[in-house]
Amino acid sequence: MKKRYNRLIAVMLAVFAIFCTFSVCVYAENTDTSGSAAESPAAASVPETEGVKSADDLTGKKIGVQLGTTGAILAEDVKDADVQKFNKGADAIMALNQKKIDCVIIDEQTAKAFVSANKNTLAILPDSFADEDYAAVISKDRSDLLKQVNTAIDEIKSSGTLNKIVSSYIPEKESDRGNYHYTQVVSQGEKLIMATNAQFPPYEYYEGGEITGIDVEIGRAIADKLGRVLVIEDMEFDSIIGAVKSGKADIGIAGFTVTEDRAKQISFSNSYANSKQVIIARIKASAVSAAESTVSSDEEEVPTFIDRLYTNFVKDDRWKYLTTGLWNTLQITFFAMVIGVFLGFLLAIIRVAHDKNGRVPVLNVIAKLYITVIRGTPAMVQLLIIYYVIFASVDINKVLVAIIAFGLNSAAYVSEVVRSGIMSIDNGQFEAGKSLGLKFSTTMIHVILPQAFKNILPALGNEFISLLKETSISGYIGLMDLTRGGDIIRSVTYEAFIPLIAVALVYLFLVVLLSAGVSRLERRLKKNER
């Protein structure tokens, strides 16, 4: 027993060591290229960029955008451009830094936040790409709510509250930052569910485990005017309009630009802010070194690996994104497994009862259809359908939705595994049961399944491992699972490496644990027979 654990630990350590070595290499590389150019007097003017130098320069370039944003819509009109759509703005920035794309088109305020985190490598081009108005989105079926929200926005504007909120996040002088925060007055009563995508500073983003930002505070102010309590639902940006249309959320506030296409789907409120779509491009290497030479070496310290660990996990209790996410991932996986095994066995037995005895023909057709449909469509699509279509108008816990979706999905795969296990049992076992006058179900439960279960355990373990990893798409319904927890850290620290590796290690650890459990069970069952 001890020996086995030792081996397990050894494997984990080896893996960790490999990752650490790898991380040091990457780290070293990063420090090489990032240099130490700080804000020098010269940085006030935009340094020379490579690839894209102005808005007229976009033709035929690789443009990164965030899926569903105005930038994404407008970039499509650029001639011959290769528009690459990322789920998160931070991913696009990452791709730009890694020279996978030539520029990123994104909202101005978000761009500023990104560039200030990457000031040595990225710059915003002086000419903007497009101007835009931000407005809230509301379902076309709810004109009364739209009216109320419009009135609320007008009041917030005229009372000066709106201005105070915006200038606290986008201050003229840096000293004014954070000097005003709107807190909700109404604390009881009907909920106003606001859908947003907290990856979009300064409009909405995570800070200290809470979603905050201009849109959030405006949402609170609107909720107060409506006498309702604001509840924030974080989801993918391209899911928000769907959520509002289906009634999952009352209002969407997420820096939505008023566009014609969107207006066909949804009603826009009066606009509450203006922004620009700007272009972020890489600073030319020569420009960086030029800047470097003018800067004394003690200007800014390069963050050490420990610093980076601190920023990613310790600061603002960011590790909590991972632990909360892990807890959700574990819950989803465990209960989905239970549903999958239960339903999977049931489906398999129906199919075997039909194939062996010609019984339950109708159930068999249903089971076959179920397996075909579930195996024939991606789990992510199923998850989205269950959340946005089947439970569209039900206020339901997202973890429960994910459990149902993954459970139903897993059942189809488990059933085929179980069926193959049952079919591998010698027909003589069935006949012996029959010849003794036993019911098919009795033979199944007491004779066939115990033998089949032992045979399929490795395949079943495989399915559990896939299931565990597949739950990483839960973020698509705005559920904070382990992967999503890592994504949130990425979106606030603008760093890919450490959060992604941390998330990967946790998954790896879970899978190693799970397979150890399965092989232990395997050995125990084997012992029983000898």
């Binding site: 010698d426 003589g428 076992q429 006949e431 012996a432 049961g433 029959k434 010849s435 003794l436 006058g437 036993l438 019911k439 009795t442 007491h446 004779v447 115990p450 033998q451 032992k454 027979e529 000898r530």
Partner: protein, 253 residues
Amino acid sequence: MNADNKKESGEVLIKVENLCKSFGDNVVLNDISIDIHKGEVISVIGPSGCGKSTFIRSLNLLETPTGGRIIFDGEDITDRGCDRRLVREKMGMVFQQFNLFDNLTVKKNIMLAPVKLKLMNKSEAEETAMKLLKNVGLEDKANMYPSQLSGGQKQRVAIARSLAMNPKVMLFDEPTSALDPEMVNEVLNIMNDLAKKGMTMVVVTHEMGFAKGVSNRVIFIDGGKIKEDGIPEEVFSNPNDTRLRDFLKSVLK
């Protein structure tokens, strides 16, 4: 044992009328009729592929007949309304490949059906199992798994398992064909004991010694038909059918 032992054809236990069975176009049993009386020990012999296994498997409806009737204990078991499970409870079956439940101990193999069919409670079933195991000389193997037994031991357990249901007839489908030669006798001895106790038995076998010595009636099936039916002395010493003569010549060599 000899022909004198043959029970006076008293009560008919199984009446087979014009039994037919075909798999697609392949006719395996062609119009078989036979009365099986209580206490009879019938050996079914014939060349391989003649349909003797299908015949015995039809008796407890492991194969569904495509024609004819089987009356068991006064009931037409080929009737649609008949509960096959109740029929099989009363007909024990022993297979060539033993078919012990591999996941259960010897004792539990025997106990499973009586307990699950609520014929006995657990302790009664356990008592019965131990008694039957004693009869087949395998008391000490009660808590072992089938994989730990030899072929002969497995078949003895299989016989005990069938007997636990207190059947009215025992069907043996080539019970010794899968055994190593030195184990054949331990199984035949058990069957011999069973015959002495008056159990009605139908035995598909290649053991001509058993057919001659233990059974009191021999039927020869060829081409899906019963070609000979009589006491062992007649069938073996004075075969009418030329195919039977050829068959006997080849197996008795």
